[in-house]
Symmetry: C2
Subunit: 323 residues, 2 copies
Amino acid sequence: MGPRAFSTDQSGGSVRVFAPASVSNLGPGFDIFGLALERPGDEVVVRAVAGTGIVSLSVTGDGGRVPTDPLRNAAALAVQGVLDRLGSDAGVAIEVRKGIPLASGLGGSAASAVAGAVAADALLGGGLDRIALLECALIGESKGSGADHADNAAPSLAGGFVLVLPGQPTRMVKLPTPPEMVVAVAHPALEVETLGARVILGETIPLAAGIRQWGNAAGLVAAFFEGDWELIARCVRDAVAEPARAGLVPGFRRVKASALAAGAVAAGLSGSGPSVFALCRGSLAAETAAAAMAEAFQLEAGVESDIVISGANAAGARILETE
Amino acid sequence: MGPRAFSTDQSGGSVRVFAPASVSNLGPGFDIFGLALERPGDEVVVRAVAGTGIVSLSVTGDGGRVPTDPLRNAAALAVQGVLDRLGSDAGVAIEVRKGIPLASGLGGSAASAVAGAVAADALLGGGLDRIALLECALIGESKGSGADHADNAAPSLAGGFVLVLPGQPTRMVKLPTPPEMVVAVAHPALEVETLGARVILGETIPLAAGIRQWGNAAGLVAAFFEGDWELIARCVRDAVAEPARAGLVPGFRRVKASALAAGAVAAGLSGSGPSVFALCRGSLAAETAAAAMAEAFQLEAGVESDIVISGANAAGARILETE
């Protein structure tokens, strides 16, 4: 099958897409589990314009810190991935509106890349399936953040709680979560650089830690299928990444302990941090846990926190506007 | 609570218990997954006799190779664990009837220990719960085989497909399996010594292998909940133990490949081998896969194989006779 002709008959059209933040790892699921939040999220607007490829790129909401070089920008790289996949020579102008704080551990690069891929595909009428969109988003995220795993991009795209299978071909499995589950996130005014947080893990782990990790990862899937909160509490434990990364986030251990003391069922680092998530039964419990986490970050690290209270975002990325 | 008095009013009574063989690991579940088979199994008969503690111990069906020293015999150690737990000074005579081949990778030590624990508890009217029985069985298995994990004992006790959570307190989670699943096992006339098969793994693993393992372990749980055979095929992969142990079982790679070529959905080493299991859709497929595995063991290693075709044993250990 040769390249299809996607060209300028959409000229002047535009698509605006929202892709949500996500909590990855969720305890034992390093590189494999992610959970989409209702908010915050990034928006990407793509417009068909004269020219070929990515004609312009602007970024707002980032304090001037996200790269605007299309070869280093997650959304632009994902758009380019879609253009390449569709064999399109269309010209595209991209506007990225960052809603997810940078280096927060909430999957901001992934969300930008997902929004870019979904928007470009919609603009060009490409009809790419979810796996193709995910692969295009991963091109964007991997060059943007060094990630080669889809534990943020997959939930941001598909919504809900997602298991990303290791290896090829790309496969994600959407899993149930208990309907009463509400996630509390405290995002402190601290930054953790993703690549550094990865390097600190080293290249080997103790076999005993590995056994704990796959036992708890398997247990968490069972717990979510069965809505078993006692099992969720038992299994949201990270034997691999969190112990190594905890020291990168001032106050983390006290913040986590305060969430649990305030009634959260489980808590841990969101991705590589510094955000801390807590899984709670109901909104009231989540609000209590979030307040406790923010207070602990203030006491322990002297920093303010942004708070997110959110159910699992069932929809994932969505087109907000098409013109 | 002081020790209860379990003594000689059951004198002369006896209990006979069957505990089934099991396939542990099942691909990605090293030390955490086990699946009970309908057969083979071990039987243990316990009798109340004059005296205190384990008064006599006999073993049949083992070719004289299972230790008959109560301090080294899995069933006797488990019986003693029950006596200790109940604070009983009863006298017990034990007869172990081995049905599971030694060093086969089918959980023979675990089954003997489970049968011993269940039989002793029934004889003494102890009413121990499943976790207590499992802990007593583990005392027997750990001194008998060096295992400190319940991935054989838990399914042998509880039946079905079981996840054993790492850490304390002891917790097992019984998980669903697709109703049409049939397990084929080829047990070649080879022996692999469990402790040696463990040492070969070393104490660390690559992080990348760990990620594959917990991704596939989580995926297999999801696949069993959803009855998704494509996902079962994808996730029954062992990134940690099987690659290291494959060389201990002559012909293993060809045997596994022959099972898959004959229509098995997935295959791998049962525990530390040398038995090879294959997961199949229906009995006919399992028989075909079993024959292919036996033929491959003959061709590649020049050995005969015993074949087991079995559904998941839903019942686990059971009392066959009480007098």
